[in-house]
């Protein structure tokens, strides 16, 4: 990334904010598909407004559904954390504050996807009742 000196003497380091927004838009479009499938599968397809224990376990025993939900967790967590970071960075918290927000959001993303992935894998390993 380049650094240029502005007319005021302040130095500005270019970032990848626009690429970040593009990824946010792309992940959002993926989520329309993911969430559409999820809402249909979890709230309509089983004949109940909610999925009970057995149907969740049955569902997660299928490798492709497991993979689907793990990718879903990764994408939705990225979209959520990136969006949340964007909102916080619109506050008057200074350059340093924004750098800390970036670190905090990366940490939050890692914690969320690791927890979500482990949860999905553990649920898939629960034997069918």
């Amino acid at each position: 990334m380049a650094e240029v000196e502005m007319s005021s003497g302040r130095e500005v380091r270019s970032s990848t904010g626009s690429l970040g927004r593009m990824f946010q838009a792309a992940s959002g479009l993926f989520l329309i598909f993911f969430l559409g499938v999820h809402l249909y599968v979890a709230h309509i397809d089983f004949g109940h407004p909610i999925q009970f224990f057995t149907s969740v376990i049955e569902n997660m025993h299928n490798f492709w559904w497991l993979a689907f939900f793990i990718v879903f967790v990764w994408v939705i967590s990225y979209h959520a954390v990136n969006g949340l970071g964007g909102i916080i960075k619109d506050l008057n918290i200074g350059e340093k504050g924004k750098a800390y927000v970036n670190y905090a959001m990366v940490a939050l993303y890692i914690v969320t996807v690791v927890y979500g992935t482990i949860l999905a894998v553990l649920v898939a390993r629960i034997p069918l009742p």
């Binding site: 990334m1 500005v12 270019s14 990848t16 904010g17 626009s18 619109d90 008057n92 350059e95 924004k98």
Partner: protein, 241 residues
């Protein structure tokens, strides 16, 4: 005689604010600026506000009129469709006194984008005039209509929450010069626009476009600029410095 009630948010030198109402005869004034001038000349000479050309060219008389930023000179009394108007200083600026705000921060940001043609030619000497086709001219002419009134900055909600954000007018100026075929300063401008306070902070609210008295459409310009930014940022990932 029909009267217009002008309710002015006044600020003294200590920052204390108060509302003060004036009754202005409707047949003596046709715009909000004229109403303020009538008050200053006939009722309260201490009322402070900034104005110059009275014809929406100098960009001096921006203020909040009934809760939205407008030019006082081009807001007609007839368009208010009311016998009462609330006038306040523009939001997101510091108030100097009454309706006059400090524009220094805005102009500082504007200067940072180098709002002038940058050329590589030595000492600015050109062998001949730089020609443009009508299509090349059309690319930027709409954006060069900006009068630097700063109204878009008052309308932008992000500018209102973070003073570091460059804001609609400076980012539009970047696109105005990037889109100009004569300009060779794109690298500097795109670096500035790609910074953490650049185009990525615009959320396409579009209120700057709603408020712009000259029809410049800053939100559209920023979206166009963002298209260039994505390519530029992608290439810069593989570029060595």
């Amino acid at each position: 005689m029909e009267e217009l009630v002008v309710e002015v948010t006044r600020t003294d030198e200590k920052g204390n604010q108060k509302l003060q109402s004036f009754n202005v005869p409707k047949d003596k004034v046709s715009t909000v600026l004229e109403a303020l001038l009538y008050i200053k000349e006939n009722m309260d000479p201490s009322l402070s506000f900034r104005y110059s050309c009275r014809m929406e060219i100098c960009g001096s008389c921006g203020m909040e009129i009934d809760g939205k930023p407008h030019m006082a000179c081009s807001t007609t009394i007839e368009s208010l469709k009311s016998d009462k108007v609330k006038v306040a200083p523009m939001k997101h600026y510091k108030v100097i006194r009454d309706l006059a705000v400090d524009m220094e921060g805005f102009f500082g940001k504007y200067k940072e984008v180098k709002p002038y043609i940058i050329r590589d030619d030595e000492n600015g000497k050109y062998e001949s005039e730089i020609l443009q086709t009508p299509a090349q001219f059309d690319e930027f002419i709409d954006y060069s209509m900006c009068i630097k009134c700063g109204i878009c900055m008052a309308a932008c909600p992000i500018e209102g929450s973070d003073p570091d954000y460059l804001g609609p007018a400076p980012l539009t100026a970047i696109w105005r010069y990037v889109a100009d075929s004569r300009d060779q300063g794109a690298k500097y401008r795109l670096e500035v626009a790609s910074g953490p306070e650049g185009t990525s902070r615009c959320h396409f609210v579009g209120e700057c476009t709603e408020a712009c008295p000259k029809g410049v459409d800053p939100s559209y310009a920023i979206q166009k600029l963002r298209g260039s930014m994505v390519k530029y940022e992608f290439q810069s990932l593989f570029r060595r410095h």
